[in-house]
């Protein structure tokens, strides 16, 4: 579908941004270009729609050399999602989505129909959002529009340049999920640039790992995880938690929490508690009040003991919390506490009594497996003995 043949890029000052790139992006696949900043991943992507020009070599789309095509026409047939603020602030959402169909001179009825269709596709109600301006939308919604715009003229190829990197983690997850869903539906050839390995693993069909203007390894996420080509790939895969060198030395409890600890309000009934445990697949719930202050913990046994009494709430059967830690506590202290008192989990509570996080044996082990691949075995054994 898209082919790079001996592509090089040398800047005027002699800097070699790309050294001999040979790549193939397969039709209908989502290929992620990933690497540390300055590795040439964005440059590589921007050559596809001629926002950048190679110094030598050829880039073919469906066998046709892009440098022989009119750049303006070429770009109208390639969707493009820019890093963060790609929406035009002076145009409504509807106009923003319609930019490419408009440039391609579709008739008005067709454009209007397409805009509504696309807004629905990215889960935004056209009636509500069509006539709003980008500044009235949240970051996540704006980037959803950015994605919709790229799909607008139904191009075969879509380029995405770190589209979700400026979003908060929750919106980012949502948009990744949506992109996967869209891709399953529409099967476009997508080239996606990111520096986030988690993102790449989550969405990619094929990962292309780059460094200093060279392709280091190409393959499916599974393959790259199982068979990293060299030490660079190995560190890059595990890099997320190693971003700051200091955190390797003494991680704090805040870094090792479970993503969404399951909490329940004190006034809830016992049947509700059981239902929630069942749904979230846990055996105990943390009880927090409306101010998010931690009140106690209730396990499935506490609930079942008293289940017959319909008027009881979780407040009546909960147990006080025996052990907790403050945010910022070094992980070794917390681990020691869990180990000594045979705790399966440990709540993190701030000075005002608010429940801010939860570490479990699972989350500790997961953290260790990411940070200390070599010594995880010995540590896991220690936990095993305690359990």
């Amino acid at each position: 579908m898209i082919e790079f043949q001996h592509v090089k890029k040398v800047y005027d000052d002699g800097f070699q941004a790309l050294k001999e790139i040979n790549l193939e992006f397969k039709k209908g696949e989502l290929t992620v270009l990933i690497g540390p900043s300055g590795c040439g991943k964005s440059t590589t992507m921007k050559m596809i729609n001629r926002l950048m020009t190679p110094s030598s070599g050829k880039i073919l789309i469906n066998g046709k050399n892009v440098s022989e095509q009119n750049p303006v026409e070429l770009r109208r047939n390639i969707g493009y999602v820019i890093q963060n603020i790609g929406l035009f602030p002076h145009m409504t959402i509807g106009k923003n989505v319609a930019v490419v169909p408009h440039l391609k001179k579709w008739d008005k009825a067709a454009i209007d129909k397409r805009v509504d269709e696309l807004l629905r596709l990215v889960n935004l109600d056209p009636e509500v959002y069509r006539d709003r301006y980008p500044s009235e939308l949240s970051g996540g919604q704006q980037q959803r529009i950015g994605v919709a715009r790229a799909f607008a003229a139904d191009p075969d190829v879509i380029l995405m340049d770190e589209p979700f990197s400026a979003l908060d983690p929750i919106s980012r997850e949502q948009l990744q999920d949506e992109l996967i869903r869209l891709q399953e539906e529409l099967n476009k050839t997508i080239v996606f640039v990111t520096h986030d390995m988690d993102e790449a693993i989550k969405i990619a069909d094929t990962i292309v790992l780059m460094k200093d203007g060279e392709v280091i390894q190409t393959g499916s996420p599974e393959r790259i995880l199982r068979h990293p080509a060299n030490d660079f790939v190995r560190t890059f895969i595990g890099q997320k938690r190693m971003d700051s060198e200091t955190s390797i030395d003494i991680p704090i409890v805040d870094e090792v929490t479970v993503p969404n600890p399951v909490t329940i309000f004190p006034s809830r009934g016992l049947a509700e508690a059981i239902k929630m445990m069942e749904r979230r697949k846990v055996d105990s719930l943390f009880i927090v009040d409306r101010q998010h202050k931690l009140q106690g913990i209730v396990s499935i046994y506490n609930v079942l003991d008293q289940y017959g009494e319909e008027n009881k709430t979780v407040k009546d059967v909960m147990k006080p919390i025996g052990y907790l830690v403050r945010p910022g506590t070094p992980l070794p202290d917390a681990v020691k506490m869990m180990s000594e008192h045979r705790l399966t989990n440990l709540a993190i509570v701030d000075d005002t009594g608010k429940f801010v996080g939860l570490i479990t044996r699972g989350s500790v082990v997961k953290h260790l497996s990411e940070v200390y691949p070599s010594i995880v075995d010995s540590l896991a054994n220690t936990f095993g003995e305690e359990a």
Binding site: L51, D131, Y133
Partner: protein, 234 residues
């Protein structure tokens, strides 16, 4: 003027008696200003675009336009009179040269401050350079360009009052007649409308600028006006 006492009522009755002539002066005044500033806009905006493309060119163009503006207006008009002779042409060319600096400079600054990622997005979706200019860069530089126009208009309205010295018309004629005849009524009858014209131009262009600025960045008010059904849903 000395011992001659006059009141506002005298002024008003004078203006009422001579309303036809004053109106004619007023209209020619406005036409001269529109012609001068309009031409400056037509020439200045492309120059501003040119400046935004090339820093070296920008420096020389802006040096010329700001030098033009530093020349005292009377001196400039007299110099132009040598070339264009007595008459309205000289005045319009003078106003054009005076208005050039604020318009070129603000166009240049306005285009420069457009966030490059919008330009890249425009290029990325396949806009030609012209479409990029008219659909993205101008709209996002519009408030700056209007500031230039506003400054130019206010200056031009003032400078146009000295038009009669080089054979032009306008409210200046009434002012100079008043000066020559030592008649303060006539001076005021020319000066007050000129001042009001400048103030109104400033207010109108200022209001326009605010409205356009609003639609550019935060437009919930605009949006809900157009689409009242949209707001309650959220």
């Amino acid at each position: 003027m000395g011992n001659y006492q006059w009141t506002i009522a005298d002024l008003l009755s004078y203006m009422g008696r001579n309303s036809d002539l004053l109106w004619e002066y007023f209209v020619t005044h406005v036409i001269m200003v529109l012609a001068g500033v309009g031409l400056a806009f037509v020439i200045g905006v492309p120059l501003g675009v040119l400046c935004s493309r090339n820093e070296k060119l920008a420096r020389s163009i802006l040096a010329v336009t700001s030098t033009l503006q530093v020349i005292p207006s009377l001196a400039l008009l007299v110099l132009l009179m040598l070339a264009f002779g007595l008459g309205t042409t000289t005045v319009v060319v003078g106003l054009l040269l005076y208005s050039l600096n604020p318009i070129v400079r603000n166009t240049y600054v306005g285009l420069k401050q457009v966030n490059p990622s919008y330009v890249e997005a425009g290029r990325g979706v396949g806009m030609s350079p012209m479409q990029l200019l008219f659909k993205v860069r101008f709209p996002l530089a519009l408030t700056y360009m209007l500031t230039g126009l506003r400054i130019a208009a206010v200056i031009a309205i003032g400078v146009a009052t000295i038009a009669p010295l080089v054979g032009g018309d306008g409210l200046g004629r009434e002012i100079y007649s008043g000066l020559n005849g030592q008649n303060p009524l006539r001076i005021y009858a020319g000066a007050i409308p000129a001042a009001l014209l400048a103030i109104v131009a400033d207010l109108v262009l200022g209001a326009l600028q605010r409205r356009l600025n609003l639609s550019e960045r935060k437009s919930s008010r605009n949006g809900s006006k157009k689409e009242p059904s949209a707001s309650p849903t959220v």
